[in-house]
């Protein structure tokens, strides 16, 4: 390995063939972790929980990645990409855990690239199209707050791998929530136009809140975070208007399939290719 320059290190061949770029066939992210499912843990339930939480993260990360090259400022592009990267890391660990728990031994690629929309269990809020920057930060606030509150409960899960992923992820999610909240206040308390867009974004998110709490009921924590932000920003609280359908039951909007087509296209056209 060259210690002179980081980029020379990246370009070097490796006897173990580790790679940094994106693609399929990466090393198992739980490599070297004790992956026994403890006695008394409902393995099928554990697998289902891991897949659902991984799907939320993968689909959310894909929507954040769509901002790359088109965010309002370079700093925000870097921020959204980094948040997506944290979520992608959580997804990789959770998919791998799911494959161990459900007994199929499927790897992360099998879950991410070779399932169709109806097999995904992400909440529908995660799959909605990116919209404007106001919608992006409002959705990020709500999803980060909700996932954080749920992860804080999961740190006591009887499965030590899920508990550890949650403990680590909670630190990351608190940072994501902070980023989103600060933008929500800045835009809500900004110009007439940014305020108008924030109100519209809150209204757009509102119908999807019920589905979140059907999946994991942490409504008090999320409501407290949202109220703190709307109070500081001079924005009204979103009015709760539930819509039918549940991503956790595989009932998705028309927006998930095109997202997956883009995400999965190369992996399906060239199965087992690495690049």
């Amino acid at each position: 390995m060259s210690d002179d320059h980081v980029y020379l290190t990246l370009a070097e061949g490796h006897e173990d063939d580790t790679r940094w770029a994106y693609g399929t066939g990466f090393e198992d992210p739980l490599h070297g972790v004790d992956t026994t499912v403890p006695e008394g843990v409902d393995a099928a339930g554990l697998a289902a929980e891991c897949v659902a939480l991984a799907d939320d993260a993968l689909v959310g990360a894909q929507r954040l990645a769509e901002w790359i090259t088109r965010a309002p400022e370079l700093e925000e592009e870097v921020a959204l990409a980094n948040i997506g990267l944290d979520l992608l890391g959580q997804a990789r660990l959770l998919y791998t855990r799911a494959g161990q728990a459900d007994g199929t031994g499927r790897d992360e690629d099998a879950y991410a690239y070779f399932r169709d929309a109806a097999d995904f269990r992400n909440v529908t809020l995660a799959e909605l199209p990116g919209g404007d920057f106001a919608f992006t930060v409002v959705r990020l606030l709500v999803l980060s707050s909700w996932r954080l509150a749920h992860f804080r409960g999961l740190v006591d899960h009887p499965d030590p791998v899920l508990a550890a992923v949650a403990a680590k992820g909670a630190k990351e999610l608190a940072y994501h929530r902070q980023y989103a909240a600060q933008w929500c206040v800045r835009l809500g308390d900004g110009t007439d136009e940014s305020h108008r867009r924030m109100r519209a974004a809150l209204e757009q998110v509102a119908p999807y809140l019920g589905e979140l709490h059907t999946a994991h009921d942490v409504r008090d924590e999320v409501a407290a975070d949202v109220r703190q932000v709307t109070d500081a920003a001079g924005l009204p609280l979103p009015v709760y208007r539930p819509r039918p359908g549940s991503g956790r039951a595989g009932e998705h909007t028309e927006h998930l399939a095109p997202l997956l087509t883009e995400l999965q296209g190369i992996a399906r056209a060239h199965p087992e290719a690495t690049w």
């Binding site: 390995m1 210690d3 980081v6 290190t9 490796h14 006897e15 173990d16 580790t18 790679r19 940094w20 990466f26 090393e27 992210p29 739980l30 490599h31 070297g32 972790v33 700093e75 925000e76 870097v78 921020a79 990409a81 980094n82 948040i83 990267l85 944290d86 979520l87 992608l88 890391g89 959580q90 990789r92 660990l93 707050s145 804080r152 030590p160 791998v161 508990a163 550890a164 992923v165 403990a167 680590k168 992820g169 909670a170 630190k171 990351e172 608190a174 940072y175 929530r177 902070q178 980023y179 909240a181 600060q182 206040v185 975070d225 703190q228 932000v229 500081a232």
Partner: protein
């Protein structure tokens, strides 16, 4: 084999080899400085077991770190090397050593302050005191981005010396 002085006990020597592996993204630090190398032990059969923990869930350097530690240990003569990943307890920036903090500052990267304990609250006022500039020491600094080129850093700038700098986030 010629050795200079008495040979170190094997486990100790293996640990010294692993401790010196540089971090792929912050190459001025070793994996030991960064607190990512959690343990090195040698089993009765001679297998060296090195335990690493990721800084962030999505850290793309993790596979590279595993490969680097294994390669360096093999190059040092250990035929059987096993790399374990430790997820619990999760990495905290408090594990960056004193020497690691000094090296970061010498390279113009502000080291982290003390990591928060317990659940992190949502705070809408400025969340932390100003980070001192690693070049001139001034506290007349401001955050320009909560994220930077790697997961573990944020971007700041110094209003006194006008230089931008990176800052290792405390988690």
């Amino acid at each position: 084999m010629v050795t200079a002085g008495p040979a170190l006990p094997d486990a100790h020597r293996a640990r010294r080899v692993a401790e010196r592996v540089p971090d792929p993204e912050l190459p001025m630090l070793t994996l030991a400085d960064l607190g990512v190398l959690r343990d090195v032990e040698t089993r009765a059969d001679g297998t060296v077991v090195a335990s690493l923990t990721p800084t962030y869930s999505g850290c793309p350097a993790m596979a590279e770190m595993r490969a680097d530690v294994a390669a360096r240990l093999r190059a040092a003569g250990y035929a059987r090397v096993e790399i374990r990943t430790v997820l619990d307890p999760p990495w905290t920036s408090d594990w960056i050593t004193e020497s690691g903090r000094r090296k970061l500052a010498e390279h113009g990267i502000a080291p982290p302050g003390r990591a928060p304990r317990g659940p992190v609250p949502l705070v809408l006022s400025p969340t932390r005191p100003a980070v001192p500039c690693p070049r001139c020491g001034s506290r007349e600094t401001e955050e320009t981005s909560r994220f930077a080129a790697t997961s573990c850093k944020a971007l700041w700038r110094c209003r006194a010396c006008r230089e931008p700098f990176e800052y290792v986030k405390e988690i």
